[in-house]
């Protein structure tokens, strides 16, 4: 199942709505990394609220996605990880190192706005 990617101002928002296969995840990763360039986006939000499991492949793909997008000049936030999912991930040693996380979409947008304004301030 393809994940819709919405453009919202300088950000891209991808909301995962149901469990994804490994190839869906890879497809999502490639689509986001590509669109960051074509839309000149400054940030990406991946919303995983609907997922009740995040296995090692999904975690690694999300981490790779965030790092690739960083290299393409944008920030990524993973939002909406459920408490049970979070603890299961940590127990399996999947801690999404170096990837920003936020409670929900609103927090994710807030985080990106802060990031964006601080980077603009520093360039001024």
């Amino acid at each position: 199942m393809a994940v819709p990617i919405l453009k919202q101002g300088p950000y891209l928002i991808a909301t995962i709505q149901s469990a994804l296969t490994d190839s869906d995840l890879v497809q999502l990763r490639d689509a986001l990394v590509g669109k960051v360039g074509s839309y000149r986006s400054r940030g990406v939000i991946v919303d995983v609220t609907a997922l009740d499991v995040l296995d090692s492949f999904a975690s690694r793909t999300l981490r790779d996605l965030a790092h690739m997008i960083r290299l393409r000049g944008a920030e990524t936030v993973i939002v909406g990880i459920q408490p049970e999912v979070a603890f299961t991930m940590v127990r399996l040693g999947l801690t999404l190192e170096g990837v920003a996380t936020a409670l929900d979409l609103e927090e994710g947008l807030f985080y990106l706005n802060e990031k964006l304004s601080s980077s603009q301030q520093s360039t001024q």
């Binding site: 408490p83 049970e84 979070a86 603890f87 940590v90 409670l103 929900d104 927090e107």
Partner: protein, 301 residues
């Protein structure tokens, strides 16, 4: 040839006895009833001598001994153990809070078994074959009684322990909101794996419902933790980060600091501050609060 014969005669002897176990036991009961006073006095004396039930007075021991004795005789007579079981449970309920130990309870029932067996020896010492049969019948019943009482006591103890665990769990740690988006989790006492799991669950749920950005976990009240629990703490910190909250751990004792260093915790992930005050101040800074005494407000504000 002679071997076969002896084995046959050994096998034959129980069959030869026309008395069944039940009738032998019924023969015992009047003896136990007749000598009730003397036997239970003997028993109480032996208990005191062996320094069992030191938490109880001599009078109390005698009263309980009488009750147990009567139940014991009844169990031998009827072959049913329900009444004895109920009594054992009831007795345990009364004596456990007074600090009576398992070995004492087992000790007293074994003493009673011994006292009664000795009185049987005395009664049937002239008729050795009869004594043997009587003991054959008495032994299993007595063992079963001893078993019932001991198991009743241990079960009662386990029930009390379970209840206490339940109570501790209910007292367990609250997740409190100090300010908008700032939670504190004060942990006091010993953390076992189950409590640790519960704490984590409560905290993660609290982060979600209060939309917390910063959490201060205060472990001033935890004297020590093993590496398993320390690992769990680190995992909780990481899981909170996945929910978008920053965790500050405060009040680490030297021992806990040592444990954390021993398990090789990544200090980049773990935000620690000396005490709760410092932790809350740090959290306020992260949230952009600044606490200013009223007198120091700037005039143009």
């Amino acid at each position: 040839m002679s071997e076969v014969k002896t084995s046959r005669s050994q096998m034959a002897s129980p069959q030869a006895s026309s008395e069944t176990t039940g009738s032998l036991l019924r023969e015992l009961v009047p003896h136990l009833r007749q000598n009730r006073t003397q036997l239970r006095q003997e028993w109480a004396r032996r208990i005191t001598e062996a320094q069992l039930l030191t938490a109880m007075s001599a009078d109390e021991i005698f009263t309980e001994a009488t009750a147990v004795y009567d139940q014991y005789v009844e169990a031998v007579e009827t072959g049913t153990f329900e009444a004895l079981q109920a009594y054992a449970r009831n007795l345990s309920e009364r004596i456990i809070p007074r600090g009576v130990e398992t070995h004492e309870v087992i000790g007293i029932v074994l003493l009673l078994r011994d006292v009664l067996a000795r009185s049987l020896f005395a009664k049937y010492q002239d008729d050795f074959a009869k004594l043997n049969r009587i003991l054959d019948a008495y032994e299993p019943a007595a063992n079963r009684i001893a078993n019932t009482v001991a198991v009743g006591f241990v079960q009662e103890r386990e029930r009390i322990i379970r209840e206490q665990q339940e109570a501790i769990r209910e007292l367990s740690t609250p997740v409190l909101q100090v300010r908008e988006r700032l939670l504190i989790l004060p942990i006091i006492g010993v953390i076992d794996p189950q409590r640790a799991r519960q704490l984590t669950e409560q905290l993660l749920r609290g982060i979600r419902t209060n939309r917390a950005k910063v959490v201060v976990i205060d472990i001033t009240g935890v004297a020590a933790m093993d590496s398993q629990i320390a690992n769990h703490l680190v995992q909780t910190v990481e899981a909170s980060r996945l929910l978008g909250a920053t965790v500050i751990v405060t009040g680490l004792s030297p021992e806990i600091a040592q444990t954390l260093v021993n398990i090789g915790v990544d200090l980049g992930k773990m935000n620690t501050v000396g005490d709760l005050q410092g932790g809350i101040e740090g959290a306020e800074r992260l949230l952009g609060y600044k606490v200013v005494p009223i007198g120091e407000q700037t005039p143009n504000a």
